[in-house]
């Protein structure tokens, strides 16, 4: 039996360093190549030595696919391609290809320049790596080689995030990457057609969560910001440069526009500006509203949001500032926070989760006095708000995607084991498909039942099924020819001709004894009438020589040589008529009905 093998090198029952190996019909594909945020040692990258100990990776992998630009999905790419060594094609969507190097460079800077690590990939390596990237469009079928083809679907989540279908022959796998089934202010919802893959590999970050509607959260957020600004207070929103930041910007921008507000909104410069540029470019990847209105005005060309300057923080009057980084642990956001924390009119809104130990986490857990470096005590009088904006599908969303794609098997990655277990049960229960959740390094084997295409000549098809009817299975007669690695269904005559064989006929003959004292031809007549009465749909004929034909089956009645009262019915048919022939014999064996003349 053919099989699909899946081995997660990362993201198996875990979040971070997504890297999944798939071998399908002799092809090996690597899905994502990410880093782990939690580690700073060797564990931060997937263990590529699993693939091969000494040969070159290029010989073992047919292609690498990157789903989106988050570092836990692409962070290890330069290491993998330049330091470990891989020269094959890398596929990603256009926006991912554009934004990915910016983030990698940022990551490299922090690791090498700030933390002083050596033996890390260089800027040149990032550039070299990006040269190996092939960009794909949505719904474009890319032929990696003669048999392997891939196709991208829209996934929401972040700009350029995609789900990929990997197909060899008629076996296929869909890998979702990270996706979002509910649309937000700047991106649409993930969508996949009814492609019925053999295996669906899906993320399961929120396997046990069903989220509330986005509108309430948005409204709360806007209301809080609006109230603070109206009071004359300042609002600080610490964000990471990409993804949620853009969503919040659009949200505030449209709100300002709608409500005719005048208070300034600032956005910290640097990385974000570059990223916004790409958001402006890739309009086709955004949601319906932005796509429809960009002719009049590109929503990412912010009217109310301006670049931030350090000096602005001391300006009087209300303002809203987006500043990086998101957890208030360093940088500009922390600086601004320290300036504004003392005033109870101000407000800080944390739009995401904060790691323990950061200032963000402390203030969220209600700490009002913070010890800063230099034994300074900072009293936090400003209001602290928490607002979660997340772009992963929740449990319902995951189920919805499964319903859309109708896979034969499901495999969960990118989530916690305990939560996955719950979802796995649910999937098996609701859809009656088997569901797997391998740990890192664990291989899952899935048996597939591939279909084998067979060519059939139009003439034969028309002859065998004259009336096109429903999708019911149908019996066909023909000869299967397996020649030159291809299968063909042809008519027997043609098969004989092609193979140069002579035709042989196979006939079954059967004798049925009947007690009938009458003469032979009278018995024949009786049999004829009997059959005629029963087989209304067939052509039953009485031939002049006393024999009877039912279609092509011949029946002859002769007297028994010893006993004149017993008549022997000779039934003869070719093997094509086996069905009718055996039916006839069984019918005749029951004897003729009494009372018929």
């Amino acid at each position: 039996m053919p099989e699909i093998k899946v081995t997660p090198l990362g993201a198996g029952q875990d979040v971070g360093r997504s890297c999944i190996l798939v071998s399908i019909a002799g092809k090996n594909v690597m899905l994502d190549c990410g880093m782990h945020m939690g580690y700073n040692d060797d564990r931060r990258f997937p263990d590529f030595s699993y693939i091969t100990q000494n040969g070159r990776l290029t010989d073992f992998l047919d292609c690498v696919i990157i789903s989106h630009f988050h570092l836990d999905h692409c962070g290890a790419l330069p290491y993998f391609s330049e330091m470990v060594g891989y020269d094959g094609p890398i596929y990603m969507t256009h926006p991912t290809k554009a934004i990915c190097p910016i983030l990698l460079e940022d990551y490299r800077k922090i690791t090498v320049d700030k933390k002083g690590e050596t033996n890390f990939f260089t800027s040149q390596m990032i550039k070299d790596c990006m040269k190996k990237v092939v960009a794909v469009h949505l719904h474009q079928t890319v032929q990696v080689d003669e048999e392997l083809e891939i196709k991208a679907y829209y996934a929401g989540h972040v700009l350029g995030a995609a789900m990929f279908q990997i197909k060899v022959g008629c076996e296929s796998v869909v890998y979702t990457g990270d996706y979002n089934m509910t649309p937000d202010r700047h991106l649409g919802a993930a969508w996949v057609d009814k492609c019925r893959p053999d295996l669906l590999i899906t993320e399961s970050t929120y396997a046990t969560t069903i989220r509330d509607s986005k509108r309430c959260r948005e409204r709360d957020f806007l209301k809080k910001v609006h109230e603070t600004v109206e009071r004359g207070g300042k609002v600080l929103i610490p964000v990471f440069a990409l993804g949620r930041a853009q969503e919040l910007c659009i949200l505030l921008e449209t709100f300002w526009e709608r409500m005719n507000l005048k208070a300034p909104i600032y956005f910290s410069t640097g990385l974000t500006e570059k990223a916004n540029h790409y958001y402006k470019l890739f309009i086709t990847w955004t949601n319906q509203k932005i796509r429809k209105t960009f002719v009049q005005r590109n929503m990412f060309e912010f009217k109310h949001i301006k670049a931030f300057d350090r000096a602005f923080a001391d300006n009087p009057g209300p303002m809203v500032v987006f500043a990086t980084p998101g957890m208030l642990h360093a940088g500009q956001s922390l600086q601004i926070f320290r300036k504004w924390a003392g005033n109870e009119k101000n407000m800080v809104i944390m739009p995401g989760y904060c790691v323990q130990g950061t200032v963000g986490h402390k203030i969220l857990s209600g700490q009002r006095k913070l010890e800063m470096e230099g034994r300074q005590i900072l009293e936090v009088k400003m209001q602290v708000e928490y607002m979660s904006f997340s772009a992963h599908a929740d449990a319902k969303g995951i189920m919805q995607l499964i319903r859309q794609a109708e896979p034969r098997n499901v495999l969960l990655v990118h989530g916690e084991a305990k939560k996955m277990e719950f979802l796995r049960q649910k999937i098996e229960q609701e859809f009656h498909v088997s569901c797997f959740m391998p740990a890192n390094g664990e291989t899952t084997t899935i048996l597939t039942n591939p279909c084998i295409p067979v060519d059939i000549s139009l003439g034969l098809l028309k002859r065998e099924t004259p009336v096109p009817d429903a999708k019911k299975p149908k019996l066909m007669h023909g000869s299967l020819l397996m020649k030159d690695n291809s299968f063909r269904l042809v008519s027997p005559e043609q098969a004989l001709k092609e193979l140069g064989l002579a035709e042989h006929q196979l006939r079954f003959t059967c004798r049925v004894h009947i007690q009938d004292p009458r003469k032979e031809h009278e018995t024949g007549l009786r049999v004829y009438n009997h059959l005629k009465g029963i087989l209304k749909d067939y052509s039953v004929q009485h031939l002049p020589d006393g024999s009877i034909t039912v279609e092509s089956i011949l029946i002859q009645a002769t007297a028994h040589s010893e006993d004149q009262g017993t008549k022997v019915l000779l039934v003869s048919w070719t093997y094509q008529d086996e069905e009718l022939g055996s039916y006839l014999t069984s019918l005749l064996k029951k004897g003729l009905p009494q009372g018929t003349p």
Binding site: T182, P183, I210, D212, K224, N260, Q288, K289, E430
Partner: protein, 969 residues
């Protein structure tokens, strides 16, 4: 060479002509008329290749064919059809057959047999499909012939086994359109095939081609539309189709399920994989709800739309659609809506400022969580969060319809609707506000909900704000804090957008009159009165103060204790506002002040309220003035006109009526004045100056009559007669004036004749009304008609003069409802001192925003006029899409006007105004000419001769400062 070619061309040309001639003559004998069939026949015979023939046919198809020659043409086409080998030509012929059978007045039963015969030997699938289409056309043309239909259906059933999807498609379509609907007919019919059309169509629900499956469902729906009761057995089949791979199949299947759920709402269906049974309508509802999360948005829109019309569904199913159990890490979580409600009921203000405020509470049993429900769970939650706004709008509409029929559901869906007020697309926001308004009598807003609703008041879109004001007009608020909140927010809105003044006042009027008891405790605070100290008197012109007063006075109307809380200046302000803004301030029973209405005993029915009485009395008085002397009449008229105009200003509901009568009286006054002129007594040449007065009077009367006829909605034919009569009088006056002032008789001839024609047409148009016009001008005129026709112009004028003087004043009956068309230009405001600068020769777009009231068919009649300082006028026809219809009788024009002019040296003002265009042909009295179908006959219509087109300005002109700069070289 060239000469040779030329010769050949000539040769060919002549040859062609000859042949045509021959053929024409032979055909002439047979067909009595050089018909199109003959020419076609010639053309087709001439065609050497299929491409040629196709060209001829295409040309032929562009021209219409008369009814008489249709049959001949069909015969010729059929003849060629059998001869033709090329499938594309046959296809065209087949389509032509269908086109020809559509000809009005042609009965296609004579060609039916031939059409059916052509099917027999046809091999091409495309042609077969086209022929089926033709048969369908033929069948639909013969609705009263069941046997023909039966035959066609039989033919179609025979071809259902065709291997091409196109043919099967058409066959199903034909069966759907022509299949027998009544049971009786089906029994009489001999054929087995046509007996159960439903079964035949149902068999094709499983066809291998999705297009055929769709066609089968559509055919079934068609049968339903034609009145056939579908069998319940189809339901299970249709349910299977919901899981089809193709969106058009699913979309059609959703419709079919909906139809069945309406037909058999109460039958019981089993739930698969359990022993339970539920009502069919509930099951269908659940299934359609499921489709709201379909992969294709077309299906989602379809499903969401249909949900709205499933009103028989049980309430617990309905409420499930808004249900979405939240959980976080397998623990039950409350939705934001639930939290808000809880905070509200615990009496605490929404804090929402803690992290973990939404922390999950109790553990959930893992087995009980159902992630994909088969039921209706959360369908609307999904629909309202959909990424396509089309789906969201459909979901909001459906919510609206369901909430209107179920108060408990209305209460539940409120939170979701309020959420939609923050949608990113304006259309959705607007739709949800309108929805909320429609269900507002079923609901009472909680304070937190009101808070969210009011937040939208700051929206920069005028449409949204106005819709919200309308909503607030009919909202129930539960607490006095709510009222206060609403007032505060509305006042905020007023300061931010001063143009909303009227709308906000109106909104507060209703808010006050709906909640008198809630306003009462707020009064001291709102009026800032103090038990011991006198507070300064607020500024009477402050719109915000007026807004507060409007709220209070309207509440005071049904709350007699309230005036005791007013301070002295409040009473003064009341008197002032009652007079200046009478439509917003109701009459109050104030202590120490005699109310007008208090004199009237309550027994009098509201129809005869004093103002209406006054109107009728004053009219009565006017109509009885016969005995007065001319001066007295004039004075009486003047007084009455003044009274009426004032009445119109005071009583908005009587404004139309009062204005209408005032205009009429004005006309009469002018007429009387004109006839009083000395001009008539003295020799003509001496009074050139005075005649200017008379002729302007005539002109003005004409203008006024047009206004009366076209500017008022609700004018009936009785009024139209009077108006036309007045116009006739004005024309007579004109004629007399011209006769007196011009020398020579020649021009008078024409004028007299024209006038007599008009009298004649008046008589023709209003023959039925003439008996009511005893003693009037036209009555007398018609008596004298024989004399007039024969006499000279000078005599005619003399007769006219005397008749005009002697004729009585006609009583103008008033219709039930009469409204004057009014327009108000909101933008441009005309207050800007900054000129609009643009380069001369180029265009500048000026945004025009106006409200129109009581304008019938504004798309056709309302124009924008721009007057430049040099007297040049420009008339702009706004696009139909620029008109919006926010409520009955109201329209809103939002358009752009393009201005351009040559360079000026300094900025100057232009005038923008709205005009109402009219065409006297369009008047209600004249008979409408039925539109004919063929374009030829339309052309033949004579252009309207006596239709007078004109425009009436009906808005105040607005001045706009512009400055075209010279272009820089």
């Amino acid at each position: 060479m060239a000469a040779h070619l030329k010769k050949r061309v000539y040769e060919e040309f002549t040859k062609v002509v000859q042949q045509q001639h021959e053929d024409l003559s032979t055909k002439k004998l047979r067909l009595t008329k050089p018909s199109k069939s003959a020419a076609l026949h010639v053309d087709l015979c001439k065609a050497t290749s299929p491409a040629d023939a196709l060209q001829y046919l295409l040309q032929f198809a562009r021209k219409p064919v008369e009814v008489e020659s249709v049959e001949g043409v069909v015969r010729i086409l059929l003849e060629h059809y059998y001869k033709e080998n090329d499938a594309s030509v046959r296809l065209k012929i087949a389509s032509l057959l269908g086109l020809l059978s559509k000809t009005a007045g042609f009965s296609p039963d004579c060609i039916m047999d031939d059409a059916i015969n052509t099917l027999q030997n046809e091999k091409s699938h495309q042609v077969l499909a086209q022929l089926m289409d033709t048969l369908l056309v033929i069948g639909t043309k013969l609705p009263e012939n069941p046997s023909v239909r039966m035959r066609l259906v039989e033919v179609a059933c025979k071809h259902l086994t065709d291997s091409s999807h196109g043919v099967r498609n058409k066959c199903l379509q034909l069966i759907g359109c022509l299949g027998p609907v009544e049971k009786g007919v089906a029994k009489e019919a001999e054929s087995q095939a046509a007996k159960d059309v439903q079964k035949i169509i149902g068999d094709h629900f499983n066809d291998q081609d999705p297009r055929v499956r769709t066609a089968a469902i559509k055919a079934m729906l068609q049968l339903h539309e034609r009145g056939l009761k579908l069998q319940q057995a189809i339901y299970s089949q249709a349910c299977k189709l919901l899981a089809d791979d193709y969106e058009q199949v699913r979309s059609a299947a959703v419709q079919l399920i909906w139809v069945l759920s309406q037909l058999y709402p109460e039958s019981i269906v089993p739930i698969p994989s359990s022993n339970e049974e539920i009502r069919l309508v509930d099951d269908a509802f659940g299934k359609i709800c499921h489709m709201v999360s379909d992969g294709s948005w077309v299906v989602r829109v379809q499903a969401a739309k249909l949900l709205g019309s499933m009103q028989q569904v049980s309430s617990h199913f309905l409420e499930q659609t808004l249900d979405k159990k939240l959980m976080s890490d397998l623990r039950r979580k409350r939705t934001a809506h639930e939290r808000a409600k809880e905070l509200y009921s615990s009496g605490e203000f929404s804090s929402g400022r803690k992290w973990g405020d939404d922390a999950p509470k109790e553990e959930i049993d893992t087995g009980a969580v159902n992630l994909i429900e088969s039921g209706a769970c959360g369908a609307f939650v999904h629909g309202l969060e959909d990424e396509m706004y089309e789906v969201r709008i459909a979901a909001v509409e459906a919510l609206c319809m369901l909430a209107q029929s179920s108060p408990s559901f209305a209460e539940k869906c409120l939170d979701f609707l309020v959420d939609m007020f923050n949608d990113e697309i304006e259309e959705v926001r607007l739709q949800s506000i309108h929805t909320m308004r429609k269900i507002s009598n079923n609901i009472t807003l909680r304070e937190d909900q009101l808070d969210t609703v009011l937040a939208v008041l700051e929206d920069s879109s005028r449409d949204i704000r106005e819709a919200l004001h309308e909503l607030l007009c009919c909202t129930n608020v539960s607490t006095k804090e709510g009222i206060h909140l609403a007032l505060v927010e509305l006042l905020k809105n007023l300061t931010k957008y001063p143009t909303d003044r009227e709308s906000i006042w109106k909104c507060l009027k209703f808010l006050g009159s709906r909640h008198p008891t809630l306003v009462l405790p707020l009064v001291p605070e709102l009026l800032s009165t103090h038990p011991f100290f006198d507070t300064p008197e607020p500024d009477m012109d402050d719109p915000a103060y007026i807004a507060v007063l409007v709220l209070i006075f309207n509440a005071a109307k049904s709350c007699p204790t309230m005036p005791a809380l007013f301070s002295d200046h409040t009473f003064r302000h009341y008197a002032y506002l009652r007079d200046s803004l009478s439509h917003l301030v109701p009459p109050l029973r104030l202590p120490g002040r005699k109310l007008v209405s208090s004199a009237v005993s309550p027994s009098i029915t509201p129809i005869e309220d004093p103002s209406q009485q006054f109107l009728h009395q004053s009219l009565e008085r006017v109509y009885n003035f016969q005995h007065l002397d001319p001066r007295g009449i004039q004075e009486l008229l003047e007084f009455t006109i003044r009274d009426l105009q004032r009445l119109g200003e005071l009583q908005s509901e009587l404004a139309g009526m009062a204005d209408f009568t005032a205009t009429y009286l004005q006309c009469q006054l002018l007429l009387i004045k004109a006839l009083q002129e000395k001009l008539w007594n003295v020799a003509a040449p001496l009074y050139l100056k005075q005649n200017a007065l008379a002729s302007t009077a005539a002109k003005q009367i004409l203008e006024e009559t047009y206004k009366m006829e076209f500017m008022y909605s609700g004018v009936e034919s009785r009024q139209v007669v009077i108006i036309h009569h007045m116009r006739l009088q004005a024309k007579a006056l004109q004629l007399i004036v011209t006769a007196r002032t011009t020398r020579g008789v020649e021009p008078l001839f024409g004028m007299c004749e024209k006038f007599l024609q008009e009298v004649d047409s008046f008589q023709r148009c209003f023959i039925s009304e003439l008996p009511h016009m005893q003693g009037s001008f036209v009555d007398k005129l018609l008596d004298l008609m024989p004399r007039l026709v024969t006499s000279k112009p000078s005599e005619v004028v003399k007769i006219l003069q005397t008749t005009l003087r002697q004729s009585t004043f006609l009583h103008l009956p008033l219709p039930e409802q009469l409204h004057r068309a009014t327009a108000n230009i909101i933008e441009p405001t005309g207050e800007s001192d900054n000129p609009l600068r643009f380069t001369s020769g180029l265009v500048v777009a000026l945004d025009v925003d106006a409200t129109l009231e009581h304008v019938q068919d504004p798309q056709g009649t309302v124009k924008v006029q721009v007057l430049y300082p040099d007297g040049q006028a420009q008339l702009i026809h706004p696009k139909p899409a620029d008109f919006r219809n926010p409520g009955p009788g109201r329209h809103r024009l939002i358009t752009q006007v393009y201005l351009s002019h040559t360079a000026w040296t300094e900025p100057c003002q232009i005038e923008v105004r709205l005009l109402l265009a009219y065409n006297s042909n369009r008047s209600k009295a004249s008979t409408r000419i039925p539109k004919s179908t063929w374009s030829e006959s339309l052309e033949a219509l004579p252009p309207s001769e006596n239709g007078i087109e004109g425009t009436i300005p009906f808005s105040k002109p607005v001045k706009v400062y512009i400055m075209p700069k010279p272009a820089r070289r």
